[in-house]
């Protein structure tokens, strides 16, 4: 009996070692509140550009992937403490973020950011601008002459403009366009702001193997044009 228990323990342990170091299931962390990049569809599942992209990348890298949603504010801390393995949430590659985590190669071009306001006469240089907290847009406004107010979710930034708390929202153009198309009273200002180095997947610095796998998969999608097709389909912006 003792031998049997010992035997199972050894098997269990060696099974443990077999997958130590490599990922059997890759957990993909996203926000689920930033269409068209990622959002929760009517069925309650993660959908959007990054869902399709992520599933395709996992198929190419031969990984089993699982989707989880997390608040934007704590999306980096939860990655580094290991609650999921990647961030795929429309996160632009910046030097500041690179100090904490690594990025794969970018899978979108630097997306122009735009202002959304109630009228096009708003002075964005000195007005009150709403952005989502801890985004490239937030740090851009903080360094400009305008007054910055930050919100936890993108939805709240739009609401702030509607109720007059802010003069305009600064966000990715791809996010604002569907809202302006249907919002009636809201307009996108002509002026574009170019910030960030494109969107990439965030991965723990210690996880170089996974980063290289995803980078290779992204490169292969860039090479055969499937990435461009996805970008056009979801209206993300410039193609490669």
């Amino acid at each position: 009996m003792k031998k049997l228990i010992l035997g199972t323990a050894v098997v269990a342990l060696s099974a443990g070692f077999a997958f130590a170091g490599s990922h059997s299931v890759v957990r993909m962390g996203t926000e689920g509140a930033y269409p068209p990049y990622n959002y929760i569809d009517d069925k309650g599942e993660v959908a959007g550009f990054e869902r399709e992209l992520g599933d395709e990348l996992c198929a190419r890298a031969e990984l089993t992937c699982e989707w989880v949603t997390n608040d934007w504010d704590s999306i980096i801390p939860n990655l580094v403490s290991g609650n999921y393995d990647t961030i795929i949430a429309g996160m632009s590659i910046t030097d500041e973020r690179k100090e904490k985590i690594d990025f794969t190669t970018n899978y979108t071009q630097p997306d122009p950011s735009a202002f959304l306001a109630l009228s096009d006469s708003v002075d964005v240089a000195t007005g009150v601008i709403a952005t989502q907290a801890s985004t490239i847009q937030a740090s851009y406004i903080a360094q400009s002459g305008a007054t910055l107010i930050e919100f936890a979710t993108p939805e709240e930034t739009i609401a702030a403009v509607r109720n007059g708390e802010a003069d305009a929202v600064l966000a990715d153009r791809a996010y604002l366009e569907p809202i302006a198309a249907e919002g009636g009273d809201l307009v996108i200002l002509e002026q574009n702001v170019l910030i960030g180095g494109g969107v990439g997947m965030g991965i723990r610095k210690s996880d170089t193997e996974l980063r290289d796998k995803f980078t290779a998969a992204i490169e292969s999608m860039k090479a055969d044009g499937t990435l461009n097709a996805l970008i056009v389909k979801h209206g993300i912006g410039e193609t490669f």
Binding site: G16, F19, P35, G82, T153, E155, A159, S206
Partner: protein
């Protein structure tokens, strides 16, 4: 859910609403009500247990135990809830993984802390990276229950400590005159009589606990407030079959009704419990009951 929901834009408003309210996403909202109620149902007794333990420890004549009890009460009561929920849960999770790592992967040579990263071997992960999503959710839920129980247990400990001291001295003196030991006095005299003094404080705690459940989202659990915010937000027709404007007000109004209804119900129940506990007690309430019946 219903056949005719396939093309919502052709429906009249009643059927549209029916289809809208039965989407998979709304099921998430309904399930989250269950999550919140389940959390309350498990947390309240566990917090009471922590509280009882803390109060007994604080009263102990064995000095180290008494210091432990008092330390627990003072420290947890003093730390802001939100800091506790952000820091303690991550620390607890990492502590457990660290222990499992030392046990399961003794030959691991890499550092566990690599810059910002907390890296343990895959076999030490809690839950294992291979486990299905529901295991992750149950684990997160269990961490949440434990954290709530520790936080609210400290407050409950303080309430119970006070209640134990409030039991009339004459009762305890009578007990020792009958020859009861300290242990007997505690279990037979103090514990049965303290509840009447503890209930107002515990009732307050229960109300606060009901209102504190939205902290769940900090722990990655999708609670009713998360879903109300997500469902109520503006939806454009490109991303959903049910486009609508900013409906957060209606969703939060529903939450308001839920919370008010639930606290009202709790008040009714607490009042009845109070009447039961007061019966035959040497308190003003007990005396009033006796006179009314006499």
């Amino acid at each position: 859910m219903f056949e005719h929901c396939a093309a919502p834009d052709t429906l009249n408003s009643f059927h549209w609403m029916l289809c809208y309210l039965t989407t998979g996403k709304h099921m998430g909202l309904y399930i989250s009500f269950g999550t919140v109620l389940l959390l309350l149902a498990i947390t309240a007794p566990s917090a009471l247990l922590f509280g009882f333990g803390g109060a007994v420890a604080a009263r102990s004549r064995f000095f180290p135990l008494s210091i432990l009890g008092r330390g627990y009460i003072s420290i947890v009561r003093g730390v802001p809830d939100i800091a506790f929920f952000l820091f303690f849960v991550i620390a607890l999770d990492q502590g457990l993984e660290w222990l499992r790592h030392k046990w399961k992967c003794p030959e691991w040579t890499d550092a566990i802390w690599q810059g910002n990263d907390f890296v343990v071997c895959q076999a030490a992960k809690l839950p294992l990276g291979t486990s299905p999503q529901w295991m992750h959710e149950v684990y997160g839920f269990a961490l949440a229950v434990l954290t709530f129980a520790i936080v609210f247990g400290a407050f409950a400990a303080n309430v119970l400590y006070g209640a134990m001291t409030a039991v009339p001295k004459a009762q305890i003196e009578t007990a020792s005159a009958y020859g009861m030991s300290n242990r007997q006095t505690f279990w037979r005299i103090i514990v049965p009589q303290m509840w009447v003094y503890a209930l107002p404080g515990l009732g307050n705690l229960w109300m606060v606990l009901i209102k504190a459940t939205p902290l769940l989202f900090l722990l990655g659990i999708e609670d009713i407030v998360y879903w109300a915010r997500e469902l109520g937000g503006t939806k454009t027709s490109r991303f959903t079959d049910y486009p609508h404007g900013d409906w957060r007000m209606w969703y939060f109004l529903m939450l308001l009704v839920f919370y008010l209804g639930f606290t009202k119900l709790s008040e009714l129940v607490l009042d009845r419990v109070m009447t039961r506990l007061t019966f035959g007690q040497a308190t003003a309430g007990g005396e009033a009951q006796r006179r009314a019946n006499a």
